[in-house]
Assembly symmetry: C2
């Protein structure tokens, strides 16, 4: 790969094709080319998405020396003291949406927020740069599957919508989503650089 090309493509280190598709859809509006890089990133245990994502970005960069993005997301449910938080993907794999709804059975406060932390790192930078996105919403009473989405999307409804994330297509989800907000912030910063 030529160094010229290297400067024009950034790499999103993820194994989650849904996350990649959501990110690519946002970045394409800014004409930013992004590749999906399947690399094992180190994730630390922490309640801070920023700490997790920064560490992952440094670790991923050390492996490939390419301009790299990592993203870490979490679902924070108020009535459950923030659970599942940054461990959303492990919790989804084990107890799933049904488990989350069981925990919420008698909860009157159903407020929750999805957070996304996008971190960019490249050889020009001294330290990784973070962009945070957040969406407020609530945990639905039932699992509401739809045409897309993954993870806890079928039980999360943004405040200003009647649909769960799973009932929206990517473009509609990106109007609300934590991930899209973080990627928009990143993209505006990236386009402001003189490269």
């Amino acid at each position: 790969m030529s160094s010229k090309l290297k400067g024009k493509v950034i790499f999103f280190a993820t194994n989650n094709i849904n996350k990649f598709n959501e990110a690519r859809r946002v970045l394409s509006r800014y004409k930013i080319a992004v590749g999906m890089l399947r690399v094992k990133t180190l994730e630390i245990q922490s309640e801070s998405l920023e700490e997790i994502a920064k560490n992952s970005a440094i670790h991923a960069f050390q492996q490939c020396h390419l301009p790299i993005i990592v993203e870490d997301a979490g679902l924070f449910v108020e009535a459950l003291k923030g659970f599942p938080g940054p461990y959303a993907s492990y919790v989804y794999k084990t107890i799933g949406n049904e488990g989350l709804l069981k925990l919420m059975k008698e909860a009157t406060n159903r407020r929750a927020r999805f957070q996304s932390m996008v971190v960019y790192f490249s050889e020009e930078l001294e330290s990784p740069i973070c962009f945070k996105g957040e969406v407020l919403g609530e945990i639905t009473e039932t699992v509401r599957e739809g045409c897309s989405g993954f993870g806890f999307d079928p039980v999360f409804k943004p405040l200003k919508s009647e649909k769960t994330f799973a009932e929206m297509d990517i473009d509609e989800k990106n109007l609300y989503s934590h991930r899209a907000k973080a990627f928009h912030k990143f993209a505006r910063w990236y386009k402001s650089l003189k490269i």
Copy 2:
């Protein structure tokens, strides 16, 4: 600290006084002196206790250059596909015992196991050494607090006992516990060394 003394004391890197007391009780039977070392250890996200504990041990050793033990434990509930697994302490802090019982409300299979991974590392070793302990049991129908215990101890009953871990004192818990088994294995190995 003299190098002679260094060779005779080992350090358990933990912030959990309950864990430390359980370990000390076992090690004292082998006349192994152990100190509690409050050091921030790096924990990675992984479903393998061994991988988490090995990484922590290396990280802790790099900070102090003392003979070091770290221990990582997990609670694996069959009906919940292994949840909460290695994230037991985060899950306990958020949804707690009541949350776990909600998830198990209609479960007929209540089998669970506690696992402990004790890892030792010192400057004489090329790589950390692991000692695994396990106890089979079941998740009780109610929270059964007692004189001691911490975390999920009030809802875990070893197969061969009528009491939960929380209803036992340390000596009785150590007859069954995953942690005691792993520390016994470590102690026998440690005593077999020519030091």
